[in-house]
């Protein structure tokens, strides 16, 4: 048993150290027929906000060798609609659901956290911050998320571990997810119509195998000085990499967008780790 929220009154115990990252698994049971959820520790939902959000305009996906950029704008139908469609799935599920909440504004986050408070199957919230969030703003979001009664994981942007991780642990985050994928840009083919800033560049978050060695470095540097559990996330595509995260002190690992290519990898890694 792994306790992700040792300081929280209810805690957030999980049976296994592997889960999908926010944004790769959907809200409900999209992968039901492919994936044996029982070997997972938890399921993290796609990002959701109190109000509906529309998809980003412009290019949303671009490959770069083994890597790719995704820029969706975090579209979602709003929390109420998500609850209506998926709360039954969460209630039926034998393992905890962690709802990923987009840090839009503190009042919206507070209202969303309250709405989620009574929901069966939801065992915790993961708060997703925007890049470059200032410490006070990030703490205000955390405060707001704590107005529900769930344990709060905060997912830290790739470039912001230094200002945010220790501060949020002190402000009362139950656990930290290190990290959200980094922001990146790519030159677009010159004939592309979508042009975000006069220049032909696509914007987005970078996914791919190169994130893993960068993540390991950050875990080695930061876990020793963080007083809360850390969930590792970023480019983990092998059991060796997942194990390295755990040996560096991570409490659990999240598997990100590699799932779309290899849906079984999530449970393969989970099974291989649980056989050790």
């Amino acid at each position: 048993m792994i306790e992700l929220a040792p300081k929280h009154k209810y805690g957030l115990p999980i049976q296994h150290p592997v889960m999908p990252a926010a944004g790769v698994f959907g809200f409900g049971n999209e992968y039901h027929d492919l994936i044996d959820e029982t070997v997972l520790g938890a399921v993290v939902t796609n990002p959701v906000s109190l109000h509906a959000r529309k998809a980003a305009r412009g290019p949303r996906f671009m490959t770069h060798g083994d890597h790719f950029l995704v820029h969706t704008g975090l579209p979602n139908p709003g929390l109420k609609r998500v609850l209506k469609e998926h709360r039954a799935t969460w209630a039926r599920r034998s393992l905890p659901t962690i709802v990923h909440l987009i840090a839009t504004t503190p009042p919206e986050v507070a209202q969303a956290a309250q709405l989620l408070s009574g929901i069966q199957g939801v065992a915790g919230l993961e708060l997703g911050l925007d890049d470059g969030a200032e410490v006070e703003a990030a703490c205000a979001f955390l405060e707001a998320a704590r107005e529900g009664h769930h344990p709060i994981l905060v997912r830290i942007p790739f470039g912001d571990i230094y200002p945010l991780a220790e501060a949020l642990a002190e402000c009362g985050a139950d656990a930290l997810t290190l990290t959200a994928p980094p922001r990146a840009r790519l030159p677009l083919a010159p004939d592309t119509e979508h042009d975000t800033e006069g220049l032909l560049l696509a914007k987005g978050r970078l996914y791919g195998p190169a994130l893993m060695p960068l993540l390991l470095h950050q875990l080695a540097r930061w876990i020793p000085r963080l007083a809360v559990p850390v969930v590792a996330c970023g480019g983990i595509t092998t059991t060796d990499a997942a194990r390295a995260c755990l040996e560096l002190g991570a409490a659990a690992v999240q598997i990100d967008a590699v799932m779309w290519k290899r849906p079984n990898l999530l449970t393969e890694i989970a099974k291989e780790l649980s056989n050790e």
């Binding site: 944004g23 790769v24 698994f25 959907g26 999209e30 992968y31 039901h32 027929d33 492919l34 796609n46 529309k54 998809a55 949303r60 996906f61 490959t63 060798g65 083994d66 890597h67 790719f68 995704v70 969706t72 975090l74 579209p75 979602n76 996914y207 791919g208 967008a257 590699v258 799932m259 779309w260 290519k261 290899r262 849906p263 079984n264």
Partner: protein, 248 residues
């Protein structure tokens, strides 16, 4: 709910300007549905069938497509069939309207039992597809922008003018489109002008966008419809064309 299948690559042969690539698989995708294949690259690639048979399906892919680099007998992991395809059951008179480069995923429609008319648009004669994949029973209209073959103009112009193309739209029971998605709002309006009260799904349009997950998880494939955003991978990729008239 997603099925996982192992397809076996059987052959790839050039059919200029494309390649014909055939896979064996238990459950092939119907017209407008797709498989997500684990070929090269960091995400899976959608494959639409250009031909379907009891033991598998074939795609038509551009040179350099990773499917053209497989070795015979190679096993390819595929998710699917995924998505909602063309709904043409019990339609007598089928009209298929397509840009030349977007014809392959509509080829299976041409072998349906219905009486079929095919309208193909290209910039110039050299861009028209070779005819040998088009059954002789299919009535063919070609449109070229420069008038080098068939009718002169664009699809929109011919649908709006008094033309045999518009005539075929008038008589059809069902019209299946495959065009650059940005054209669909205008095409929807052309359909409305040609038909007074088109029924739901009278005009159906295939939207080909990037679909990294195919599972409704990644939200990359979102498209705008009259009734809000939908996912191409699970709510489509074939949509009611009139639903795509988001400008109107």
């Amino acid at each position: 709910m997603i099925r996982e299948q192992v397809a076996v690559f059987r052959e790839a042969r050039p059919e200029p300007p494309l390649w014909w690539v055939r896979f064996e698989v238990s459950v092939p995708p119907a017209a407008g549905r797709f498989m997500l294949a684990d070929l090269a690259g960091p995400v899976r690639i959608p494959l639409f069938a250009a031909a379907i048979d009891p033991t598998g399906f074939a795609i038509m892919a551009p040179p350099g497509h990773p499917a053209t680099h497989l070795l015979p007998g190679a096993r390819v992991a595929m998710l699917g069939p995924l998505g909602k395809g063309f709904r043409i059951e019990n339609q007598q008179r089928l009209l298929v309207i397509t840009e030349a480069g977007r014809l392959p995923p509509l080829l299976p429609l041409l072998t349906s039992t219905a009486t079929t008319t095919l309208v193909v648009e290209a910039a110039t004669r050299a861009r028209l597809p070779s005819l040998h994949r088009i059954p002789p029973t299919v009535e063919l209209h070609t449109i070229t922008h420069d008038g080098s073959a068939g009718h002169t103009g664009t699809l929109e112009q011919l649908l709006d003018a008094d033309s045999p193309v518009r005539e075929s739209l008038r008589w059809a029971d069902c019209a299946c489109f495959s065009c650059e998605p940005a054209r669909y709002p205008a095409l929807a309006r052309s359909v409305r002008r040609a038909r007074m009260h088109p029924s739901a799904d009278f005009a159906q349009a295939l939207i080909e966008v990037t679909m990294p997950c195919g599972a409704g998880a990644c939200e990359v494939c979102r498209i705008q419809t009259r009734s809000g955003e939908r996912r191409a991978c699970s709510d489509g990729p074939v949509f009611d064309l009139l639903e795509l008239d988001t400008d109107g």
